[in-house]
């Protein structure tokens, strides 16, 4: 009977979720719309990490989780995984990207021109506290240039390969339908190129930054120069069952090429993701640049950074330590006590300062 | 909260077929009933566009194609349908996986006549002691051809189908011809 009384598990978890939601209250389409309009860069980040391009669903996920980013991404991933895969779009070529921003740190000017585009890079980071006093934050309108910059441009690496500064990656003849899909097959090592790029594309921004930054600070072998950073829109071309190709719309994408000198040629690292997320692309491309030949177990080794920047997995494992572990703990206690007793039996006056088990502890589970 | 979804007839059939296959693979030599006779439910329960399939029986092709699976040569196929075998040669070409990825060893489906013909004695995981089973209709040298390919944990896994009955013989099973 005493046991039955403790069976409050079901009720407890229901009430804990209610408590969480009580603070935010209910929400409707209007709030979702407001989130979508006011937080486009957050929406972009979430769409990238979820590998699901849908601004409405991303805004919904943010509204539903109160902005708990890991939860929002998990919501979207769990939704995404149940959707049928109807079609695989045609590959997007770099020179077909409708470009909003494209800058290169490698050259003063580049074919197609530097296009500064939208950025906070040169904004002074002063908090607009007067808004809280009731002022309106009204940005000045953009003054269009006399001649618009070209919408479509080649990549900087294309020019470099033409000039024999860089060996371009070999053409991959894989038909779009047969491109390995990370969401349908496990990541194995050495990783398929498609898996590596997909994994980086949906990696957690902070995780990629942390490891990419470590590589930049000197824990990698290569030092990145931003060959090109681009914010763009990509046309999604799909094939109708009757054979005709049509556009299913445009999605915001960002990409980065980073290079380093390697003998007489440049080596290149690349990353791209859904949405506009410059930090993630530069950091991810830096990891990609550093990965060939990286030492096993180093932060720039593919297995190391792909596993550890997977946000849904890493955040889930991190919070799972909240779950009860008293069975495993009990099992360890038993081994410790027994070892202690054995030691006491052997040496009547044991030195109390000596640890019992000096072996490497078992990995956390 | 969404309402509990009801299983479609296809879901129910595939679930039952897999239940039989999992049971059969877990208890080598012990027959288990598929929801329908023939290879059809094995095909729909297991195959889709991620699979590479070889079929020696042209009659199974339409059903295999409907799953979206890609047809492949026998040595590249992850699922191999050999139908009623007349010679044991095809076993020489079936994929056995690699040291690192034994799971790339194929699943091979063969038509057999259970309870008649030559008996074999099976031992190994899934078997309490030993089990003797008659698997008729196998070509000469079938078990020798299997043994020649096994390099455990590399190897392939067999299902024998007779009507609606299926018997599994995974690569972990030792087979003695009686």
């Amino acid at each position: 009977m005493a046991y039955v009384a403790t069976r409050g598990g079901e009720r407890a978890i229901e009430q804990s979720e209610r408590l969480f939601r009580e603070e935010m209250g209910g929400f409707d389409r209007d709030r979702v719309e407001e989130v979508k309009k006011s937080l486009p860069y957050l929406i972009d980040r979430v769409m990238g990490e979820a590998s699901l391009y849908d601004e409405d669903l991303a805004a919904l996920a943010l509204a539903q989780t109160g902005g708990e980013l890991y939860e929002a991404v998990l919501l979207l991933r769990a939704w995404r995984t149940t959707q049928p895969r109807l079609q695989v779009a045609e590959p997007v070529e770099q020179d077909t990207l409708f470009t909003h921003r494209r800058i290169s740190a490698a050259f003063k000017d580049i074919p197609g021109g530097q296009v500064l585009g939208p950025t906070l890079d040169y904004a002074h980071r002063i908090l607009a506290t007067d808004v809280l006093q009731g002022a309106l934050y009204a940005p000045d309108p953009v003054e269009p240039a006399d001649t618009p910059s070209p919408a479509y441009q080649p990549s900087v690496s294309a020019w470099q390969s033409e000039n024999d500064l860089l060996d371009p990656p070999a053409d991959d003849p894989t038909k779009s339908n047969n491109i390995p899909d990370l969401t349908r097959e496990p990541l194995l090592f050495p990783s398929k190129r498609a898996h590596t790029l997909q994994s980086l594309a949906r990696a957690e921004t902070g995780g990629v930054l942390a490891l990419g930054y470590a590589a930049m600070r000197g824990y990698g072998q290569a030092h990145p120069t931003v060959n090109e950073l681009r914010l763009a829109e990509a046309e999604i071309a799909v094939t109708h069952p009757d054979g005709r190709q049509f556009s299913a719309g445009r999605v915001k994408v960002s990409q980065a090429e980073v290079v380093d000198k390697k003998g007489e040629k440049l080596s290149i690292g690349y990353a791209a993701t859904f949405g506009w997320n410059e930090v993630k692309c530069i950091a991810a491309a830096t990891l990609d640049l550093n990965s060939p030949g990286a030492e096993k177990g180093s932060a720039t080794e593919e297995e190391f950074f792909l596993y550890h920047t997977e946000g849904v997995e890493s955040s889930g494992f991190c919070i799972h330590f909240k779950l009860p572990h008293y069975v495993t703990f009990q099992s360890s206690l038993d081994a410790m006590r027994d070892a202690k007793a054995k030691k006491a039996a052997k040496a009547p006056e044991p030195s109390s300062s000596e640890a019992v088990g000096q072996t490497k502890s078992e990995p956390a589970e | 909260m969404l309402a509990t979804p009801a299983p479609s007839p296809a879901e129910t059939r595939d679930n039952a077929a897999f239940d039989a296959l999992l049971w059969a693979m877990s208890r080598p030599g012990v027959p288990r009933d598929l929801p329908e006779p023939g290879e059809g439910t094995v095909i729909t329960a297991l195959l889709d566009r991620e699979c590479l399939v070889y079929s020696a029986d042209p009659l199974l092709m339409p059903e295999i194609m409907r799953t979206g699976a890609e047809l492949a040569d026998i040595d590249r196929a992850d699922h191999v349908f050999l139908g009623a075998m007349t010679a044991s040669d095809p076993l020489a070409a079936v994929a056995i996986g690699s040291d690192n990825y034994p799971d790339d060893g194929a699943t091979v489906i063969v038509r057999a006549s259970l309870g008649s013909g030559a008996a074999v004695r099976l031992t190994g995981p899934g078997i309490d002691g030993a089990v003797t089973v008659q698997l008729g209709g196998m070509p000469d040298g079938f078990w020798k051809a299997r043994a020649a390919r096994l390099r455990y944990p590399m190897g392939f896994d067999l299902f024998f189908v007779d009507g609606a009955r299926a018997v599994g013989v995974p690569r972990s099973t030792n087979v003695e011809e009686m």
Partner: protein, 304 residues
């Protein structure tokens, strides 16, 4: 080919949450994991509506296996009412309409974290164990690619060396739960973080055990009647936790794995970890009928 042949009528959710493609992949991998007992098979491991590390691997297996007739039991640390067990049970029942039970004997499928029930499982039952870390070699080799090669070569020397060093230092193997075990004489496997008490229950068992690590994307299995031998040296026998002599303060049952509850006076009280076994014992004591099945351990000992 038309769009309608590529897809199916829209539904808010597939039966059992996972779509057909996820289930078929899991089916294919489950068959391979049974065919090579104890060998870790990689799988895609879809996201499910639960956080990684919270039983998503076990959940994917359960969702693939169940149908509306499958009676499901879910436990965490031996208890049915543990909050995450309650959450998983509620989810499976919600998306698959399965009946649920707390009675080990009544269940067709048992999903568990860190325990195997004390009552002997039958041939027709399937045990699904949640696995946080599928790689028994990780303490000696954290790199998965190298560890995979070690399994391929049956290169378990460093594993043995680690155990040997522990014995030299501490007089015993210090491994608590997740005791590495040799399956079918070939693959070293982690039995998942079950206590050492539970590992012998896997050896030559009547039931099928499927172990699934969702976050790490690996699945492996122990078919019925399969050898599962903890790694030990011939002169240092395997030792389960010394719980055989302990008595549960709530139910009075004795000779099973216990939870230690620290007391204000500095002592410890013990409660049986398999909560349903405790309930059944109390029921029998109160004269509400005998519902206890046969147990693996008898008088606190595992019969050889």
């Amino acid at each position: 080919m038309s769009l309608s042949t590529l897809t199916k009528p829209w539904e808010a959710m597939s039966y059992g949450f996972l779509d057909g493609s996820a289930k078929r992949e899991l089916r294919r991998k489950m068959l391979k994991s049974v065919a090579v007992p104890g060998c870790q098979m990689p799988y895609a491991s879809r996201e499910v509506p639960m956080a990684r590390g919270w039983g998503t691997g076990g959940l994917q297996v359960s969702l693939t296996l169940v149908n509306p007739q499958t009676c499901v039991k879910v436990i965490d640390q031996g208890a049915d009412d543990s909050v995450n067990a309650a959450s998983i049970r509620r989810f499976i029942a919600q998306v698959a309409g399965t009946p649920t039970t707390m009675d080990t004997l009544e269940a067709d499928l048992i999903q568990s974290r860190h325990r195997i029930p004390e009552e002997i499982l039958r041939e027709d039952q399937v045990l699904v164990l949640q696995v946080p870390n599928p790689e028994p070699l990780r303490p000696v080799q954290p790199n998965m690619s190298i560890a995979r090669q070690m399994h391929a070569d049956a290169d378990y020397g460093r594993m043995w060396l680690q155990l040997y060093e522990q014995i030299v230092r501490s007089g015993r193997v210090m491994q608590g739960a997740s005791y590495p075990s040799l399956v079918n004489g070939r693959h070293v496997m982690t039995p998942s973080p079950i206590p050492r008490w539970d590992v012998p229950k896997l050896h030559m068992a009547r039931h099928l055990t499927i172990l699934s690590a969702g976050r790490e994307k690996r699945i492996f299995a122990v078919p019925p009647y399969t050898r599962v031998e903890p790694l030990v040296f011939s002169d240092v026998p395997y030792k389960v936790e010394e719980h055989g002599h302990l008595t549960c303060t709530r139910s009075g049952t004795r000779g099973f794995f216990m939870n230690e509850i620290p007391q204000d006076d500095g002592s410890s009280a013990f409660e049986v970890s398999d909560s349903e076994w405790g309930v059944k014992t109390i029921r029998a004591r109160d004269g509400d009928g005998e519902s206890r099945g046969e147990t693996w351990y008898k008088n606190g000992e595992m019969p050889q």
